[in-house]
């Protein structure tokens, strides 16, 4: 029943530093600051527990988890199905209510927020990338990218928009509807949308789960670049070791607890972790092994 504390930084310190990372900062400044202080906490889970079902048939998805996510880092959460990795992310992002414990993002306690506060949190601090169905089908790529800013009625930074568009390589696709884009392009639009608002943290839920290996590489590369160049913080749930290998840090969950915390692991190191746990781990899909490209699923289906 040992509890894992991945990092130990005081909340007060995070609070103090957060002040320097508000919206007003320039990308460049942010980069330097983040690079300089790679261990500043953006989001933190304190004694987080999530159970489903009633007493007789209780499923413990998260079991007193304590974890901190660092600014300017890309953290991958891995684990077999049912290990609680998605639940952890959903609780962190305010999409799900923890049974007990606290979630703090940028010093704000997410777990006790009401709908209005949650909406504000999503507008200002959090970006999302989902596995599929990331885009509003009636809007063009450009409109989708700008949507969060418009919803929040925030001014649009055109220079930043151009930069983001160029990085994701969608310049020629801006007027297309999601149904006219391939799966990889759709995910890149989703990434661009998430990064456009420059949130404190982007939560990505299996962002490459539906993509072929080529598209996966593009998307992951873009996410990695945004961390490196703009100091973006990303928390990504994945069960693809290849995807996880792009991360600065890999957390491995099993039965609602963090079992591993790897810094800058290589692809082989990650494979080893799972290999070491043997047959118990069933969360590692065959298709994600190197050399085996997953089948491309027509993107139109989800339009």
């Amino acid at each position: 029943m040992g509890r894992h504390s991945a990092t130990t930084t005081t909340a007060a310190a995070a609070q103090a530093r957060r002040a320097t990372h508000r919206r007003g900062r320039t990308p460049a400044a942010g980069v330097n600051a983040d690079r300089a202080t790679g261990d500043e906490v953006v989001a933190r889970a304190i004694d987080l527990t999530k159970t489903y079902g009633d007493k007789d048939a209780q499923v413990v998805a998260l079991d007193h988890v304590n974890v901190e996510f660092m600014r300017g880092q890309m953290t991958a959460i891995m684990g077999p199905s049912g290990s609680g990795k998605s639940t952890l992310m959903h609780c962190m992002a305010g999409l799900d209510q923890p049974t007990s414990g606290k979630v703090v993002v940028e010093g704000l306690e997410v777990s006790s927020m009401n709908q209005r506060q949650l909406t504000k949190l999503r507008r200002d601090q959090i970006g999302f990338i989902f596995q599929s169905f990331n885009l509003v089908p009636t809007l063009t790529a450009e409109e989708n990218i700008l949507l969060p800013l418009q919803i929040a009625k925030r001014p649009i930074d055109r220079a930043w928009f151009d930069k983001v568009v160029d990085v994701v390589g969608l310049r020629s696709r801006l007027t297309h509807r999601p149904s006219q884009l391939s799966g990889g392009q759709q995910q890149r639009v989703a990434c661009a949308r998430a990064i456009m608002a420059r949130p404190s943290v982007i939560f990505a839920d299996e962002p490459t789960g539906n993509l072929d290996s080529h598209s996966s590489r593009e998307v992951l590369g873009f996410l990695k670049d945004s961390v490196r160049e703009y100091g973006q913080t990303i928390v990504m749930v994945t069960h693809d070791p290849r995807a996880a290998s792009y991360a600065d840090r890999v957390l491995v969950l099993a039965d609602g607890r963090i079992t591993q915390d790897l810094r800058h692991p290589t692809y082989d190191e990650i494979l080893e972790v799972f290999a070491g746990e043997g047959d118990e781990v069933d969360g590692l899909p065959m298709s994600s092994r190197p050399g085996e490209a997953s089948e491309e699923i027509p993107s139109k289906e989800r339009a």
Partner: protein
């Protein structure tokens, strides 16, 4: 397969709610209309049974072909039933009643004595009815109930079997009345109370001497029992014929006062027929036959009600079928994968089809079931409302098994029709395509755009054609079209057909075209929301264009109702404007006076008005009873009025077609309305024979009556004197003195007797040749013939014409407002005379139009309510389809208000699209109707812009409200679940 269908139905039940409501509402109207008809019909039967309860009726033997409507209307009928039940429709059915209830020649009242002597006859009585009687209640106001008339009958013991005196006695003199229980209750009067009764010649103080009840309720009619002698006098005055009656009621004695059986009735009628003199022109018929005939006639007159309700039920169901179609197409679209799975495991298209159809059947059954209950409840509600309004109904109101079956079938058929196309789509789904989750792209909308435009164009052409026909009918010099064949065909058509066909084509065309309109409309209509609410507005507009067919169907449902409402609005507003136009441009007098009861203004009231201070001139419009034109078989009747020569200069400006109306009237020529002239083929300068009636003193008969009376008195005196002498001889001096005093008194009485009671009158037919001096086009005079008082005096006399309208001009320098007050005071004691100034004269018509409009709007509200449910339905389904999308929007920071706003804008735009289409088409149709019926009184086109504007505003409000429930449902789903939904 059926099991799968049933399971699906259970699973989808939540989505069927709106469709069930739609079906239930439509079916309820269908069932309700049947119940209502049966209720009316059983009410009529009951009333016939108690109101025309004689065993045998003796009536005229030949049908009266030249039945003068006005007379039938003004004098009512001597059979008590038929007039008391023709409640609401009496004003509009003057022509309908003449072909529904046959009129026969009148028979001599003296036949009653002959009949009474026939074996098996208990009594033979004549029940005289007087129309235009007004009873004044305890509170001093005229007693009236909505729709139902006041019926005054001469009643005495034994004249009406179904009426039972519960208190007091029957009236014996003009200053006494017996009241029906309902009348007494409504008036707040009881036996012994004094009140006023307004007779045709003025109000009189009367005493309530009795209360009686009848076997059936009288549907709100106020029944007043007059003294038979008084009733007879007024009846003869009103009918213009002396000693002639419509029928004689006979009660048989065979069953000791109980009604005779059908067989007995026939026997008695046969016996009476044998006893009737050959020249009596009378015939005895069984009471059964009379009751059946007049019940049938009444039901026919009321028959328009059910089809009217049914029309609106059909509209509602039509609208409802759109909702059902939408629901099913969305369900089918979502279940495509399931159907593909079924197909891939070997289900045939027919089997897949049946899974959808089973759901439709379940939906149809449930909806119809609710509908039947709702319809039942509705009729019960109507009955109780009528009861409160003073029209108690004792007829049965419960639906029969066949009514329920009809409701069930209608509901099922509509549901199946709505579900058929989506079910076909499900059946046709290719297994592979459906399996891989691809949503079929929507069919292109341009073919529907082309087809719809074509239909609208055809409809518009049909309207154009109709308009040309109307023009050609109004003016012979106008040709319908440049093509002869079309002209011949068009001339044989009535305007109704092309008008209806055109309207049908345009409405269907718009429905077909609608999907093609969604895209452009969402761009145009969406401009404002997209600029005011940048994000939500844009999302909403784009969503509209996403399911073009769905959006179009939803809007079309609203379109149908709104189109009819707008069309009615335009027609009604044009009608009002036309009347106002007549008053503004034509009416010159300051006031008009009319009678609120039977149209006759008592002479005393006319005198009172003339004497009122400040009245400059009074112009009288008198109607001549029973005037016909021509001779022999070609006789035609027309409403004929006697007017003052100053009519056209002081009261109404003539719109002359040909001739000089003012000169013609002054010169004693006929001024003919254009419709009458056309029907008879009269031209200015023609000479026509005018046939009328006069009632004059029959000198011979009077002399004979007086001689008879004298002889009777003499013989009585002689007898008394003989008796006195006998008594004197026998020594009884006191007795002899008493007898001779009696004899003296009899002689005295004979001197004092009112000679008028001995005056006998007779009816004289008059035939006068008159020249047509002018033909006029004023819409009020179109179907009338006018002449001056001098000419009228040759055709009719004071007994055969009466004043129905007065036009009053104020004397110079008199304030009209003050005069109005004085006039109202002057006629107050006559209760029924209504003085109106020009504005009120206009508003009487408007009020009438408004009342009709309110009823129609109430019926149309049904289809609009269903259409609103349709918007809720479409939005709810579309929200459930878009769960993930909405979840995504919320995940990236869309607030709840923004989601609500987005849906509200969407709903509002659907509503505005439907309303806009409806307003445009409805206004167009209204304008066409106005143009076509221009020559029938709809002279001015008036478009109620404010009203139409309000419709648009209301539609926005409706949209916003309709978006609330779907928005609540969308927001209830947690973001995480929404995003994770597969």
């Amino acid at each position: 397969m059926i099991r799968i269908g049933l399971r699906d139905a259970r699973a989808h039940f939540g989505r069927f709610v709106m469709s069930i409501i739609a079906i239930a509402l439509g079916v309820s109207f269908v069932v309700g209309s049947f119940c209502f008809r049966e209720m009316m019909s059983s009410q009529v039967d009951q009333m016939m049974a108690s109101n025309s309860d004689a065993d045998v009726y003796v009536r005229g033997s030949t049908e009266d072909k030249s039945a003068d409507d006005m007379m039938a209307m003004s004098s009512g009928s001597s059979s008590s039933g038929s007039s008391s039940s023709s409640s609401g429709s009496s004003s509009s059915s003057s022509s309908a009643s003449s072909d529904a209830s046959k009129t026969y020649n009148r028979i001599d009242a003296a036949l009653a004595d002959t009949i009474a002597k026939v074996d098996g006859v208990k009594t033979a009585t004549i029940t005289y009815s007087v129309s235009g009687i007004v009873l004044v209640g305890k509170d001093g106001n005229a007693v009236s109930t909505t729709g139902a008339p006041t019926v005054a009958l001469g009643l005495a013991k034994g004249t009406w079997r179904s009426a039972t005196l519960t208190e007091g006695r029957w009236a014996k003199a003009k200053n006494e009345v017996a009241l029906h229980t309902f009348a007494a209750e409504t008036a707040g009067l009881k036996v012994g109370d004094m009140t006023k009764l307004v007779y045709p010649d003025g109000a009189a103080d009367v005493k309530v001497v009795g209360i009686f009840s009848t076997d059936s309720s009288q549907a709100g009619a106020i029944i007043v029992g007059l003294a038979p002698s008084a009733a007879k006098d007024y009846f003869q005055q009103q009918s213009g014929q002396i000693n002639m009656v419509r029928n004689i009621g006979v009660y048989g004695s065979a069953n000791g006062g109980e009604p005779l059986t059908d067989e007995q009735q026939r026997e008695l009628a046969d016996r009476i027929n044998k006893a009737l003199p050959a020249d009596s022109k009378a015939r005895a018929v069984t009471g059964r036959q009379v009751r059946d005939d007049s019940a049938a006639a009444t039901k026919k007159a009321l028959g328009f009600i059910q089809p009217l309700i049914l029309i609106f039920a059909v509209i509602a169901l039509f609208v409802g079928s759109f909702i059902i179609a939408n629901t099913f197409s969305m369900i089918v679209r979502e279940s495509m994968r399931g159907y593909a799975l079924l197909r891939s495991v070997g289900a045939s298209p027919a089997q897949v089809f049946s899974t959808v159809i089973v759901q439709a059947i379940v939906l149809g059954l449930v909806g119809s079931g609710f509908g039947i209950g709702l319809g039942w409840g509705m009729v019960r509600l109507i009955v109780s409302v009528l009861d409160h309004m003073g029209m108690p109904m004792s007829g049965a109101v419960d639906p029969s098994a066949s009514d329920m079956l009809v409701g069930l079938i209608v509901g099922l058929v509509v549901t199946l029709l709505g579900a058929a196309l989506p079910a076909r789509r499900a059946a046709m789904a290719p297994p592979i395509q459906a399996m891989n989750e691809t949503v079929n792209p929507e069919k292109p909308v341009w073919p529907r755009g082309v087809a719809g435009s074509l239909m609208i164009a055809c409809g518009a052409l049909s309207w154009l054609f109709c308009w040309r026909i109307a023009l050609a009918k109004a003016d012979d010099t106008v040709a319908i079209s440049p093509w002869d064949w079309l002209n011949d065909w068009g001339a044989s058509l009535s305007t109704g057909w092309p008008l209806g066909v055109g309207a049908g084509l345009v409405v269907l065309g718009v429905i077909v075209l609608a999907p093609a309109l969604v895209e452009p409309t969402s761009v145009v209509l969406g401009w404002i929301p997209a600029h005011v609410f940048t994000v939500t507005g844009r999302l909403a507009t784009r969503n509209l264009a996403r399911g073009k067919h769905r959006t179009a169907n939803t809007a079309a449902a609203l379109f149908v109702g709104v189109a009819i409402v707008s069309c009615l609005g335009v027609v009604a507003s044009s009608a009002k404007a036309s009347v106002a136009g007549i008053v503004d441009s034509g009416l010159k007098s300051d006031f008009s006076a009319m009678s609120a009861s039977d149209g006759r203004i008592p002479d005393d009231a006319i005198e009172a008005i003339k004497k009122t201070e400040g009245v400059g001139s009074v112009s009288q419009s008198r109607m001549l009873l029973g005037v016909t034109y021509g001779s022999g078989d070609d006789k035609t009747s027309a409403m004929t009025f006697a007017e003052q020569p100053s009519l056209f200069t002081e009261v109404f400006a003539p719109v002359t077609n040909s001739g000089d109306a003012d000169r013609a009237l002054r010169d004693g020529e006929l001024v003919v309305g254009v419709t009458v002239a056309k029907d008879n083929g009269w031209q200015v300068g023609d000479t026509v024979t005018v046939n009328g009636r006069q009632i004059v003193v029959d000198k011979e008969a009077t002399a004979k009556a007086q001689a008879d009376y004298q002889a009777q008195v003499q013989s009585k005196i002689a007898a008394l004197q003989t008796q006195a002498q006998t008594l004197l001889a026998s020594g009884d001096t006191a007795g002899a003195q008493a007898k001779s005093a009696e004899a003296q008194k009899a002689a005295e009485d004979a001197k004092n007797v009112d000679p008028s009671t001995l005056v006998k009158t007779k009816t004289v037919e008059t035939h006068v040749k008159a020249k047509v001096g002018a033909i006029i086009e004023n819409s009020v005079y179109r179907s009338m013939v006018l002449m001056n008082d001098d000419l009228a005096g040759k055709i009719a006399n004071e007994y055969t014409m009466f004043t129905i309208m007065l036009f009053i001009n104020a004397a110079d320098g008199t304030d009209t407002a003050t005069l109005k007050t004085r006039l109202v005071d002057a006629v107050k004691s006559y209760y029924v005379v209504n003085v109106q100034d020009r504005e009120e004269f206009k508003s009487t018509m408007s009020t009438m139009v408004d009342q009709i409009l309110i009823i129609l709007y109430a019926l149309l509200a049904l289809s609009i309510v269903i259409a609103v449910f349709g918007i809720v339905n479409t939005l709810a389904l579309s929200v459930s389809e878009r769960t993930r999308e909405i979840g995504l929007l919320r995940a990236i920071g869309t607030s709840r208000m923004q989601v609500r706003g987005m849906l509200a804008i969407e709903a509002a735009m659907i509503a505005v699209l439907g309303t806009l289409l409806g307003v445009v088409v409805g206004t167009g149709a209204g304008a066409v109707i106005q143009q076509v019926y221009r020559s029938n009184g709809l002279e001015r086109l008036s478009i109620p812009w404010t009203q139409l504007g309000l419709f648009l505003l209301a539609s926005i409000a409706i949209g916003v409200v309709a978006a609330l429930p779907p928005a609540r449902r969308a927001l209830k789903v947690p973001v995480l679940d929404a995003v994770a939904t597969d």
